[in-house]
């Protein structure tokens, strides 16, 4: 792996004695996109502003291209960090044309025109060069903001919830486009969002920031299917938990036996995390579970089911299956990957037991 373009070590920043960013360690390898997912108030924006140089850390260190830019000894002002920022508000200069906005960060006079043209072409806006920001649509001003940041040839581009000002449909289109451009140009980027789907899509890697702490980092797939803690699993959404007893044959749950092992003695109880799409369901007059509600979701149908123990779980089914509330059913866990297990809220190391059984 090449040298990380951005490194943060033990980065901490407090406002009025509340830590907005607490002891954050992260690194972004050159050419990669790190997506940071965090709820509002988690310190995402503060983290970006620290890296951009708009805030000074209380302690910790930031290195860009292996040069310290903020530490106990140094503080490099934003204009000398070569960090491109794409703001939530886009922050286009209203008194400058699109071309002048893009040209603003290009210090080299002689090829300025060519580079403006190049970056406008990259974002597909060469026809709008003479327009002013108020004459642009949301998606267009988004593209100008990106082109302006890229044209200054930054070491890293920071994107602060750049799509949150766009409507839902445009948001999906823009994130595909932006990801394509960042990848095409080989740009190193740090992307923060509160939208899980966006983070999963945008990041080569993904990190979760909560209450100022970086809780987990990994590929989007790994983070999504194996949250590092029970509370993180809840945060990542649609998570349900069921008790599992450790046996030699696997984990025994009310939803059947799971062919996986944890490093705990037999008889220990763990919490198994699963999602509605891990739960299989079949109509069965003799079944002990009862359908409470059918929630039609379009392509799929979600069934709310009461287990004999009184516990309520959900099962995701194709919309072709129709069961009325009150129907008796049989339920069992049928995951296509090992399910995360938690003891005292913390993730346990899990081992698959081959062959897997249904």
């Amino acid at each position: 792996m090449s040298q990380p373009a951005v490194i943060c070590r033990a980065l901490t920043k407090s406002f009025n004695a509340t830590a907005a960013v607490h002891a954050v360690d992260l690194s972004v390898p050159e050419g990669q996109i790190l997506a940071i997912l965090g709820p509002s108030g988690s310190g995402k924006t503060t983290l970006l502003r620290l890296i951009a140089g708009f805030e000074e850390p209380d302690h910790g260190e930031i290195r860009i291209n292996d040069q310290p830019v903020a530490s106990a000894a140094v503080f490099v002002p934003p204009e000398r960090r070569r960090v491109g920022m794409v703001f939530q508000s886009h922050a286009l200069f209203p008194h400058l044309t699109v071309a002048d906005n893009v040209a603003f960060g290009i210090r080299d006079e002689h090829d300025r025109h060519q580079r403006v043209a190049h970056f406008l072409e990259l974002v597909g806006l060469e026809k709008l060069a003479a327009r002013y920001p108020h004459e642009l649509s949301g998606g267009e001003s988004q593209r100008v903001a990106l082109a302006r940041a890229l044209a200054a040839e930054p070491v890293v581009v920071l994107l602060d919830e750049p799509f949150s000002n766009l409507d839902a449909e445009l948001r999906v289109r823009m994130r595909e486009e932006v990801r394509l451009i960042l990848k095409e140009t080989g740009t190193t980027a740090l992307f923060v969002t509160h939208d899980q789907e966006e983070a999963l899509f945008m990041g080569d890697r993904m990190a979760v920031l909560r209450a100022g702490r970086l809780e987990q980092e990994g590929t989007p797939e790994a983070v999504y299917s194996n949250p590092a803690s029970r509370s993180l699993a809840e945060f990542l959404g649609h998570a349900e938990f069921i008790a599992g007893v450790v046996t030699d044959a696997g984990l025994e749950t009310e939803l059947g036996r799971l062919a996986q092992r944890v490093d705990l003695p037999p008889g220990s109880v763990v919490e198994v995390g699963f999602r509605a799409d891990d739960v299989a369901l079949a109509a069965d007059e003799a079944g002990e579970a009862e359908v409470l509600a059918r929630i039609f979701r379009g392509g799929t149908t979600l069934y709310r089911v009461k287990l004999p123990s009184g516990k309520i779980v959900h099962s995701m089914q194709a919309h072709t299956l129709t069961l009325e509330p009150g129907s008796r059913v049989r339920l069992w866990l049928e995951p296509h990957h090992p399910l995360p297990c938690y003891a005292e809220g913390k993730a346990l190391r899990i081992h698959e037991m081959a062959p897997r059984r249904h």
Binding site: A10, H59, V83, F87, L214, G218, A228, A347
Partner: protein
């Protein structure tokens, strides 16, 4: 499995270090340095005044305790209370009529009743004396008919109270109108549907909610009265400001004047403090209803005619008669061969002083406003609050303090333009800071940050991005300062260089010598220039409403 939970180990923990001290950047030095300089400049008059008053010795202070001081306090209080009470009644009635009743021509009346704001008090005083004075217009008409050579005196309390009420009630009116418009009509409708009569609803629902606005508006009027110099002087009613001026003109006992001025400042501060407390509470009330239907108008029925007569009387007294008198003396002066030529020089002086003041004061406001909006900190807010000292200082007090200071420590500056500009700075910096601040608040800080991350230093970011954005706001602020300076009287009177006559001082000296015709042209010019910001505000209001 590529999952890496991140316990907070792995990197060596960076130890806590003491807050580091680094050389502040050039931009930061520049902004803080100039803001502190501005704060020091505006604090000079009040601090020097305090110094002189404290150093005045027991003699000056015992002089302060004499009966004459009590009379001055009594006069001032009587005038302030009378004007405030009369204005409150006028304003409440007019505000209700123009916002809640079906009074014919409500929009026209609401504009006309706000217009007296553009008449400076000394012009108002002049017009009162020129019409009803012993040798005014009325006497001029009556003399050939009845042979009356002198009318009874209108000088003193009645004249001062009448002029100040007619000129200052719009302050309370505007506050109350805004409050009426903010009230949620649904509350009144709810009360009506609960079986209460219209009168009960007004007394028990509407009026209690108007109380903060009524109090705030009344205090504005009280403050105006307390600080007024022009009307009371022309009406020869001995309140603080007039007595201070007389002491300045006649006596060498400057410490006594300083002590007296200090008492006035304390009175002003007390009223200001009450006003600020009430305004804070008033804001809480105003936040509740944002989107609401316009209220149903109360039909006046037979009461329409008395209501119209009442509005007409107010407009007649506060606008039509003054305008008529002004034109009468203007025409009479022109007919009797009054030359307008000297007026050009005088107007040029006013414009020069106003322009210099506008540029200086806006420039002084910029660093303060930048600190408060971009780098808020207790110190920044402290500096901002210091710049508002002008609100608490009547013009005559600032002028006196600078006269004392200039004649003792800076004789080369005394009666020069720079010292006059310093007085303007102290008096008008608050409105400039307000204007620049609101311009800055409209610009998202992301814009400057974008410029910074694109490689520009703070000064370049200001010049290339912020300045082009706030230019209209700066221009509006400068215009406001310019027009306020044009009509300022007491500081100009005391501090202008010898022979430097402005429009305001020309009106003053002409009236002092009862040359009413001479005062008409400069007074008209002052009213015209003062009307500009009001017209601008009204137009802008309409624009935002559209």
């Amino acid at each position: 499995m590529e999952t890496r939970p991140l316990p907070h180990i792995g990197f060596p923990r960076v130890t806590l270090h003491a807050p580091r001290w680094r050389r502040p950047s050039r931009a930061r030095l520049l902004v803080w340095g100039s803001a502190l300089l501005v704060a020091a400049a505006v604090m000079l008059p009040p601090l020097y005044l305090l110094l002189r008053a404290v150093g005045a010795g027991s003699q000056a202070w015992s002089a302060l305790l004499r009966a004459r001081t009590l009379i001055i306090i009594g006069n001032t209080a009587l005038l302030a209370i009378t004007v405030t009470a009369a204005s409150a009644v006028l304003a409440l009635t007019l505000a209700w009529l123009t916002t809640r009743s079906d009074l014919p021509g409500r929009r026209l009346w609401s504009v006309l009743t706000a217009l007296p704001l553009v008449i400076p008090s000394y012009v108002g005083g002049y017009l009162m004396v020129a019409s009803l004075g012993p040798r005014g217009m009325l006497q001029g008409w009556l003399e050939p008919l009845l042979g009356i050579e002198r009318l009874p005196e209108i000088y003193g309390f009645p004249g001062a109270a009448l002029v100040l009420t007619l000129l200052s009630y719009p302050y309370a009116l505007l506050t109350l109108r805004a409050a009426f418009q903010r009230l949620d009509p649904a509350q009144e409708e709810a009360a009506r549907s609960l079986g209460r009569s219209r009168r009960t609803v007004f007394l028990r629902i509407t009026l209690p909610q108007l109380r903060p606005a009524l109090a705030a508006g009344s205090l504005l009027v009280a403050l105006y009265t307390l600080r007024d110099f022009g009307a009371v002087s022309i009406m020869r009613f001995n309140t603080f400001t007039r007595v201070l001026y007389i002491q300045y003109r006649s006596s060498f006992d400057r410490s006594g004047a300083a002590a007296l001025a200090l008492v006035l400042v304390i009175l002003t501060l007390a009223i200001l403090a009450i006003e600020m407390r009430l305004r804070g509470r008033g804001r809480i009330h105003s936040n509740q209803a944002s989107a609401q239907r316009p209220p149903a108008l109360v039909p006046l029925g037979r009461w329409r005619w008395p209501a119209l007569a009442f509005c007409s009387l107010i407009v007649l007294l506060s606008l039509v008669i003054p305008a008529g008198v002004l034109l009468y003396w203007l025409v009479r002066g022109l007919l009797s061969g009054e030359v307008l030529m000297p007026l050009l020089q005088v107007a040029a002086n006013s414009i020069l002083a106003g322009t210099l003041a506008a540029v200086l004061i806006i420039a002084a406001a910029i660093p303060v406003a930048i600190l408060v909006t971009r780098r808020p900190s207790p110190l920044a807010h402290g500096i901002e609050r210091l710049t508002y000292v002008g609100f608490a200082l009547p013009g005559i007090v600032v002028a006196l303090s600078l006269v004392f200071f200039g004649s003792r420590y800076a004789p080369s500056l005394y009666q020069t333009l720079p010292l006059l500009l310093l007085a303007y700075l102290v008096l008008f910096l608050p409105e400039a800071v307000g204007a620049v601040k609101s311009a800055l608040l409209q610009i998202h800080p992301n814009l400057e940050e974008a410029a910074r991350s694109l490689g520009r230093d703070p000064l370049q970011a200001f010049r290339l991005v912020l300045l082009p954005q706030i230019r209209p706001g700066l221009a509006a602020g400068a215009a406001l300062v310019f027009l306020t300076t044009m009509k300022e009287l007491p500081a100009t009177l005391l501090l202008a260089p010898l022979g430097f006559r402005t429009l305001a001082t020309s009106v003053w000296s002409a009236v002092e010598e009862a040359f009413f015709a001479q005062a008409a042209a400069p007074a008209l010019l002052i009213i015209l220039t003062s009307s500009l910001p009001l017209a601008y505000l009204v137009l802008r209001e309409r624009e935002t409403a559209a």
